[in-house]
Symmetry: C2
Subunit: 356 residues, 2 copies
């Protein structure tokens, strides 16, 4: 039976990518070896790295003033790494708190330097994006979480500020065009739109690096990885390879503009149903709704079991909401086809018909 | 044509493991989803983590006094991480320098605390393991590199000291039994005997943790990962899965005792040929020879091209030596069958017959 994968992450990947990846596990490039057992210094893998970097640059329109890195450790590792690379202990950065991941980013930076939280939506369980805030004059960067996986909100427009924007884009990178020139640093764990778990993309404007006086362990220093093209040590070969395939798939589908168009359509369809259907209610403020993670509740608790059973029966996987919001979360990343949304909407409509 | 994979790492994996991994990429556990796109919080993956940890404990005979962690970032990330977790700034550790990776471990620790290098084999381009050294009275641990991938040496016997041993076992973990109780911490990048690139095993005796007063970023603190069973954040799902398969394969083959027996046989065959064949010479001191990485030179430079051509023709891949030693390096990790060694030995014998 066909499954519709609504997991928040690790998340759905294009079927073509999965099949190509499986072939490479058996035999990569017809060389008689698995991609899992080749040297990262082999010609074949060096080419993978080059193609992966080229795809990122194309998708984000990132020029040579930016370095493109494939690192390890997830966005959580970047929380302290970026602060160590961009701030000395007595220096300050501004952060906006829009959810659990923002809070974690704030905590890690605050352990290493001065942090000013300029706004937070914690007062309403993070169901909106704060718009009213101002920067302290000494802030070296402004950190935001572009899309909040758990709470289903996103920055529809990115802040325009005079200091570099630093953004955790883990859950919406490549879902829509971004004004690249505003960003000093973008980072994203691969395991949503980019690929499988195991690598983290960092795109950093090179001129902001090399300015701190604090001690940086070699692996924590972005410059190490820039100098060695993300190959100072053995990189996560297979996660990078599958990310390359996924990014090239996006390009083959028309790039980020095409992804955004598709994503807007899927999100609109699902939100329209949530707003129309008397049994459901969306949790995020309408103007800040994510086009990646659609969070909603059932009005009647007694229907929860039935809804989950019907959704499962229809092939929907991973729609249970995060415990801090409850209810449901349908993650509709780039690789989700409209068909999946149609199936879920049908389940919601049937529920209303039979129990509304 | 069948390939014999002598890469130093990422390295050969058992064919059964590769085939199972390819199937899981297409469809994991018959659930209609790829292992690349399932949540790390799903039942199926939680089971993978449990099986992976159980396999490590069984292979190393590590009891509950040890924590078993699957982290990211390679051994290079452990170089600074272990020093930060085990030492305050004014505290001292002893290190033995047996090659490039030891040197890197020393450099990272020295940036964070006090380091005493108690012995080094740099004087002879690291072709032996120093045996004559003593520890400073205040050393909190002794760090060694159990097997030196680049130089083809290993500790045949592990030091017996009164302080905890800390060992980078990246290139010979699971190749032979180890006296676990001597070790305070063992770490190993997966990409040799354990699995593909992308995860790093850390086995640490819990009582040594939580003693430093320095600030530890959350992701750098081993206790974070212990408390969350290596799932504080999204772990490298697929590398851990393939590592689990590889470790279970070892167990199914008779465990570490069987691995060692096989490895000794393969190494003996290859070293015997190097010692017998008038065209070749081994680079490492005989008593310290690695049973994982067999390093050797051709006596006559003019035969280099012919040897490489003949080896390639026979299906041998990855035998070029590291630039800091030159010549050849045949890495014969657990998954290498005797057949591969036989083929290489035959090429060496043919070369002598035709050009000796």
């Amino acid at each position: 039976m066909k499954k519709y994968n609504f997991y928040a992450g690790p998340a759905i990947l294009p079927r073509e990518v999965i099949e190509e990846a499986a072939r490479a596990v058996n035999d990569f490039n017809g060389k008689g070896l698995s991609i899992l057992e080749i040297s990262h210094r082999s010609e074949d893998f060096i080419q993978v790295m080059e193609r992966a970097e080229a795809a990122v640059r194309k998708l984000l329109e990132a020029g040579e003033e930016y370095a493109v890195l494939f690192l390890s450790g997830g966005a959580s590792t970047q929380f302290f790494t970026l602060a160590m690379n961009l701030l000395d202990k007595e220096e300050r950065a501004a952060y906006i708190d829009t959810g659990s991941w923002s809070s974690k980013a704030i905590k890690e930076a605050a352990g290493l330097a001065q942090v000013k939280v300029v706004a937070s939506s914690k007062d309403k369980n993070y169901n909106y994006i704060p718009k009213d805030w101002s920067l302290p004059p000494d802030a070296k960067y402004l950190h935001i979480t572009s899309n909040n996986t758990i709470f289903g909100t996103r920055y529809k427009e990115f802040p325009e500020v005079k200091i570099p924007l630093v953004a955790d884009m883990s859950s919406d990178i490549f879902s829509r065009p971004v004004p690249m020139s505003r960003f000093g640093l973008i980072y994203a764990g691969a395991q949503k739109n980019m690929g499988p778990a195991g690598t983290t993309l960092v795109v950093v404007r090179k001129k902001y690096l090399g300015k701190v006086s604090r001690h940086l362990p070699t692996m924590v220093n972005y410059q190490t990885h820039i100098e060695k093209g993300s190959m100072f040590n053995t990189p996560p070969v297979f996660p990078i390879y599958v990310s390359m395939l996924t990014m090239e798939w996006m390009l083959s589908q028309g790039g980020i503009a095409a992804m955004e168009k598709r994503n807007m359509k899927k999100a609109a369809k699902l939100y329209d149903e949530i707003d129309r259907n008397s049994l459901f209610i969306g949790t995020a403020e309408k103007e800040d709704r994510s086009i990646m993670n659609v969070c909603f509740l059932l009005n009647e608790q007694k229907l929860e079991e039935t809804f989950m059973a019907k959704a499962t029966e229809a092939g929907c996987v991973g729609i249970k909401g995060h415990r801090s919001v409850g209810g449901y979360r349908a993650s509709i990343y780039n690789a989700m086809e409209m068909e999946g949304v149609d199936v879920l909407v049908e389940v919601m409509q049937d529920l209303e018909k039979n129990h509304g």
